[in-house]
């Protein structure tokens, strides 16, 4: 059982790293948002691992549900912002966004 | 006695807040008289303190606020002497302002800050807690920032910022010094610090604050630059309040409080002498009348410091008398400069000359004040200078005393030079007659005070003598006796 938890935890961490890497790698705003989503998937896995470790699935389920709602609202707001950027620039390339360079 | 002193502080400090309100309420004209009234009240309130002070009575009061911060006052002969002199000169200057500042743009602001300034000075004089000493110190700095930049020219504002930054910078280091003193002795109360020896680091930090405020070489550069302010303000800065704060703080902290190590004392004396001499030489080469007077102030401040730093009876008495004599005389000189500037629209002495015929009262007043600064009997300046040099000899500092006399000679030179360039010789520029009666009257009063304080020296001398008696005759001065 402990190994399974470690595996879930590790997989979650891996997803988080990949998500952050996506944020660093890409210049397209939608892809950056995908990166944030991937990070969120990783965090969900870690949630599950923590719940299993404490053997309290009911409790952790409740947290996961809340987290999913947060994630959704965040994604919606992010996408609305992306549409705003697109309205102004006609492009999603962050190189045009002077503040996001680097 | 305590509540009296509190009133002296609070009347100008809180009263000043009414002035901008009056300005907004459309009573622009009333702001000047209001300021005169408030400052005058503050001065009158110091009169009843004179009696008890002469009798050698002291008073203390304290309102604890938070932990070691308390609003505590200390009323003794030194404090009363300073408050009396400063508020007297400030009142005269405020009256003069009525004629001088009339047609400028930000009149209510001017009177507000001047009154606040006087309030800060009174607060500083009576404070017994180092934190409140620092607080009033900074209020005076910010007042001086707004006043130096009063005419709003970009260059003036830059000079105001410079003055603020230098004095604020010195003061925050002084605050750090106070904090170090606190970590050593666990108190901010000046009277509890009496006789305690101050560490080197703390001494350097505190002296940085004092020297920056009192414009001592090498932290003096802001003072000549501050000449861009209205003449009333330069007069206020030089004669009544600002540069005197450093002197007062030194007298309060070290002559009446903490003990300085003998080696440090030698360094301080050398610095003060250097300041007196270098700036006297600088004044000799100056042709801008206000800058000349400013360098002269730096020089006289150095002189006063000499008297304080030698820690002898004559030195201390001389220094306090010097504060008063210099206040009257330099106040008069700057106000004369104000009248001259009004009349000739220039500060450049090479463009003046022959003004004596057009401005006889101003000319005579200028001469009296200049001679007092130069130390010519029977003006008050002579006696104070004599006492300081006597004090130096008393402390065994013969070499420094000799150089101080040399400085006095240089002072006489540049003072006479300035008088000759402005008032004698041929007229070189257009010039109207005297200034307005109020302005000339104030100048004349200051000249009379300069003369009177020489003839009637006994009166201030008695008070100063009491102050010297209350001073802690500390280890250094014992060493040198």
């Amino acid at each position: 059982m402990n190994n399974e938890i470690l595996l879930l935890f590790g997989c979650g961490l891996l997803l988080m790293m990949l998500g952050v890497y996506l944020l660093v790698l890409y210049r397209n705003l939608i892809r950056l948002i995908i990166g944030v989503e991937v990070v969120a998937k990783g965090v969900t896995l870690i949630f599950l691992a923590a719940g299993l470790f404490r053997q309290d699935i009911a409790f952790i389920q409740s947290l996961i549900v809340t987290f999913i709602i947060v994630e959704t609202v965040l994604a919606a707001v992010m996408l609305a912002l992306v549409v705003g950027v697109h309205r102004i620039y006609g492009s999603l390339d962050i190189r045009l966004l002077s503040k996001l360079k680097g | 006695m305590e509540s009296q002193a509190l009133m002296v502080i609070l009347v100008p400090l809180l009263g000043s807040l009414l002035i901008p309100l009056a300005g907004w309420a459309g009573l622009r004209k009333a702001t000047g008289p209001m300021a005169v009234l408030l400052i005058g009240c503050s001065h009158l309130l110091t009169w009843p303190l004179l009696g008890p002070a002469l009798a050698g009575r002291t008073g203390e009061s304290s309102i604890p606020l938070y932990r070691w911060i308390e609003f505590s006052t200390n009323i003794d002969a030194l404090a009363v002497f300073m408050a009396f002199t400063a508020s007297l000169i400030a009142t005269l200057i405020a009256v003069y302002s009525l004629g001088y500042i009339e047609h400028t743009e930000h009149e209510p602001e001017y009177y507000f800050i001047v009154t606040l300034f006087v309030g800060a000075m009174m607060g500083l004089v009576f404070s017994r807690n180092l934190i409140f000493l620092y607080m009033f110190w900074e209020i005076s700095a910010l007042a001086c920032w707004r006043l130096i930049g009063y005419f709003r020219d970009p260059e003036y504002v830059w000079k105001a910022d410079k003055a603020f930054l230098i004095t604020f910078g010195g003061a925050v280091f002084m605050l750090l010094g106070f904090a170090l003193i606190f970590t050593q002795y666990g108190t901010f109360d000046i009277s509890e610090l009496r006789g305690k020896e101050i560490g080197t680091a703390a001494l350097v930090l505190v002296m940085a604050g004092i020297f920056s405020k009192s414009a001592t070489v090498p932290l003096h550069t802001w003072l000549p630059d501050a000449g861009v302010a209205p003449s009333t303000i330069t007069s206020l800065l030089h004669a009544a309040i600002l540069v005197k704060i450093g002197l007062y703080a030194f007298a309060r902290l070290f002559c009446n409080g903490m003990v300085i190590a003998p080696e440090a004392q030698t360094w301080l004396l050398v610095l003060a002498l250097l300041s007196a001499f270098v700036s006297a030489s600088a004044a000799l080469h100056e042709t801008n009348i206000k800058r000349l007077l400013a360098y002269s102030t730096v020089s006289q401040i150095g002189y006063t410091f000499l008297g304080l730093m030698v820690f002898t009876h004559f030195g201390y008495i001389g220094a306090l008398l010097y504060i008063m004599a210099h206040g009257f005389a330099k106040g008069g000189l700057f106000l004369c400069a104000g009248i001259i500037e009004h009349g000739t629209h220039t500060k450049d002495m090479t463009k003046m000359g022959g003004l004596f015929r057009k401005m006889p009262v101003t000319g005579v007043s200028y001469l009296i004040c200049a001679l007092s600064i130069a130390g010519i009997p029977p003006m008050a300046g002579f006696f104070s200078k004599y006492f300081v040099i006597n004090g130096l000899v008393e402390g065994g500092r013969i070499a420094i005393a000799t150089l101080a006399i040399l400085t006095a000679v240089v002072t006489l030179l540049y003072m006479l030079k300035s008088f000759r360039m402005v008032f004698l010789g041929e007229s070189r520029g257009e010039a109207h007659g005297e200034g307005s009666p109020v302005m000339v009257g104030v100048v004349a009063v200051l000249a009379v005070l300069t003369l009177a304080s020489g003839f009637l020296l006994q009166l201030p001398y008695d008070l100063v003598k009491v102050a010297d008696g209350q001073r802690l005759v500390n280890i250094v001065s014992l060493l040198w006796r």
């Binding site: 309290d56 009911a58 996408l79 | -």
Partner: protein
Amino acid sequence: MLLWVLLGLLVLLTVGACVFRDLLYVAVSLALVSAVLAGILFHYGANIAGVFELSVCAGLITVLFVSTVGMTKDSDQGDETRMGRGFIPLVLLVFIGLDVLILRWLGSALPSIVPGAGSGSFQNVFWNLRSADILGQVVLILAGVFGISALFRLKVKEKKHE
């Protein structure tokens, strides 16, 4: 065994979301990641969380993504990456290595499983123990609604305020 398959699939699909050129494919593979995640949640008996993951993340968010991609289709994609996709396998290997290191440390740091008191049924936890979260969720959704409507409102004409 099933867990290994599911986790492997999860990582594979995530890497897919990293490498696909077409944004639609990316959105779809993200949806599949969510679906697999939901499967894992089901596997451990977290049914309700699984349903949410499946419906909201795999469903709603994907719809949002696809519609955004559609709305911004005309934008030029240009050169998207900073250093090329070729590095991704390498980076993946590095990450896995790092991960293994962390896990080994974690394995030693983690005490063995402590049987928790258990909080009873999901309904009990969600509605009774964590009712503060429900308040939070309600306001959060309000924030989302007002936020999106604010971002999509018509911009007022520039005025001078002098």
